[in-house]
Amino acid sequence: MGNDAYLKVSGLHFAYGQRQVLSGIDLKIRRGDITGLVGPNGAGKSTLLRLITGTLQPQRGATSVDGRMIADLKPLERARLIALVPQNPTVPPGFTCFETVLLARNPHLRFLQWEGPRDLEVSRQAMEMTDTWEFAPRLLQRLSGGERQRVFIARALAQEPSILLLDEPTAHLDIAYQTAIMEMMERVRERTGVTMLVAMHDLTLAAHYCRRIAVLHQARIVAEGAPDEVLTSERVSAVYGTPVCISAHPVDGTPVVLPVRRKPPG
């Protein structure tokens, strides 16, 4: 295994109508890594994730997992391999949290088959890993945003995927929930070995928890590597178009991205 790319994106091109969103994307992710995908709003992070799951088709290029092209896989096979927690997941009315998580067992069930003991067990474990098991019989719509987010992560885990994609899982959450989710993802990774690619808007959080960072800017991956290599003040200022200052985290030295006021006070 070593440095082999488990998830490999090669030469991906994607356009919405006239607008070229992604142009020649190359990404190599090792098995078991947590990689953060960062970039300005609208850079195409969500689009890239959706292309990797196979629900969007690229104009050119391909994604492969463990050497197999995902375009060659049937939808159910892909669903067993790759799971995505979207940015704004739908909250279906009337579903309990447990029922919501159970939906993810679909790729593992045959057409007319009902959920069996194993499916129920996998779902339960997924919920325990995300600290949501206590919500199981409650209606999903009654939970707070942060609690719901954890249930959606549980759902993705119940798919038993090899690759877990998360689209801005910490957006709109306060610092407590943000760290809770990141800690939870670490735990998940340790226990299950799942490979994760997380689109994030918070650079510092990404640097603190992700082993590698990829920067998406103007339709290309402009940098990829360890956080302290990738997140330099020149690069971040250039990509985001605003001056920043990079400091080192007092605890582990990972980059801390600090905004810089244009005019000092007074």
């Binding site: 939808p75 669903a79 739908t90 579903f95 993810a104 679909n106 069930l109 199981a136 019989p137």
Partner: protein, 362 residues
């Protein structure tokens, strides 16, 4: 049985375990009980009508049909005819149509993710009404080669309307659902306009037409049952098979795709099956409203949102409700008949309000 109970270790010293019940139940028992209740309701309904037949005689008439039983016929032949050739086919037909409308309504509600959807949403009712009107105002078309053209015309009209709506809405391999609804509204408006025009311009008495449009089982025969049975049963089974898919479709289309659902195929199949089933029902019963809209909601309030249980239980409620509504329609007015659609509206609305007030899930 399926209701799971999990032990959850408190982790505290002393090791108390909290028992938590997670509600996940297979719906077999409620299905069987529901089906039995419907059969019972049907039998009871067959025992009542505008002609009073004493229960003992009813029992004897039924028993006499069993091949090994030999009872002297001490009752008038008209009673036998009434029970076997008028009431029973009517009750069975009402049950089948109620089942069809309720399941199709639930399917449409799930497909369009809209609680106001009913089986007539994309033009089935207006198309069927137009087909029926064309036949009813053209005496020459009533019977062609001895075949009653009315149900055939209604059926074809319904399918044509849905096909038109589908053709308009379909876009480059996909089927945007909001467009389909709007197309259905437009097609329905057009068909209704033509229907009204035909009604106004026709000389023959419009009463038979009006009573068809309002729905009724007054003409019900065993032959009608045999004709619609395959459509309705097949449609029901197919829609039930897609129960889990319907659950998944409650998520955005893309999320459902990520969970492995072939969304376009599911949409197309469900629309076709639900439309066919509804068209078959409407062709023998006219346009009966309320059942397809209300039955699924009543089931949701009582038993939840999982479509694998929602679909069959809607069938149960729809069948039972329509059998009882038909009972009322044929006994409320002396020797006359009320259109069933009026009864379903009058009874359905207050009942639904009551359920809403009682609900805890909403």
């Amino acid at each position: 049985m399926g209701i799971l109970t999990w032990r959850r270790d408190a982790g505290a010293p002393g090791g108390e375990a909290a028992v938590r019940t997670v509600a996940f139940a297979y719906p077999w028992r409620r299905l069987v009980v529901g089906a039995l209740v419907v059969v019972l309701v049907g039998l009871l309904a067959a025992g009542v009508g505008s002609v009073r037949i004493p229960p003992v005689a009813l029992g004897k008439i039924l028993a006499s049909r069993l091949p090994w039983v030999n009872i002297d016929a001490s009752w008038p032949a008209s009673w036998d005819t009434i029970l076997w050739n008028i009431r029973l086919p009517r009750v069975v037909l009402a049950g089948l149509v109620g089942l069809a409308l309720a399941v199709s309504g639930a399917t449409y509600q799930g497909l369009f993710r809209n609680p106001l959807a009913d089986p007539y949403l994309i033009g089935v009712a207006a198309g069927a009404g137009l087909g029926a009107t064309v036949v009813l105002v053209t005496p020459a078309l009533h019977f062609v080669s001895g075949v009653n053209m009315l149900p055939i015309a209604a059926f074809l009209g319904a399918l044509l309307a849905v096909t038109a709506a589908y053709g308009v809405a379909r876009r480059g391999g996909g089927l945007p659902l909001t467009t389909l609804i709007l197309a259905g509204v437009a097609v329905a408006a057009m068909a209704s306009a033509v229907t009204s025009l035909l009604m106004i311009r026709s000389n023959p008495d419009v009463r038979p037409l009006l009573s068809w449009l309002l729905g009724g089982f007054g003409r019900g025969q065993w032959r009608d049952v045999l004709v619609v049975l395959p459509y309705i049963v097949l449609g029901f089974l197919l829609m039930m098979a897609y129960g889990r898919t319907l659950n998944l479709l409650q998520l955005e289309e893309e999320e459902a795709k990520q969970l492995g659902v072939n969304v376009e195929r599911a949409k197309l199949l469900l629309i076709v099956v639900a439309s066919l089933t509804t068209a078959a029902a409407v062709s023998v019963s006219g346009l009966i409203g309320f059942v397809g809209l209300i039955a699924p909601h009543a089931v949701r309030l009582l038993w939840g949102y999982d479509y694998r249980s929602l679909l069959p239980m809607s069938a149960v409620i729809g069948a039972g409700f329509l059998i009882l509504a038909d009972l009322l329609a044929r006994t409320a007015v002396g020797s006359g008949e009320l259109p069933v659609g009026i009864v379903t509206a009058f009874c359905g609305a207050p009942f639904f309000l009551y359920l809403l007030r009682r609900s805890r899930r909403m």
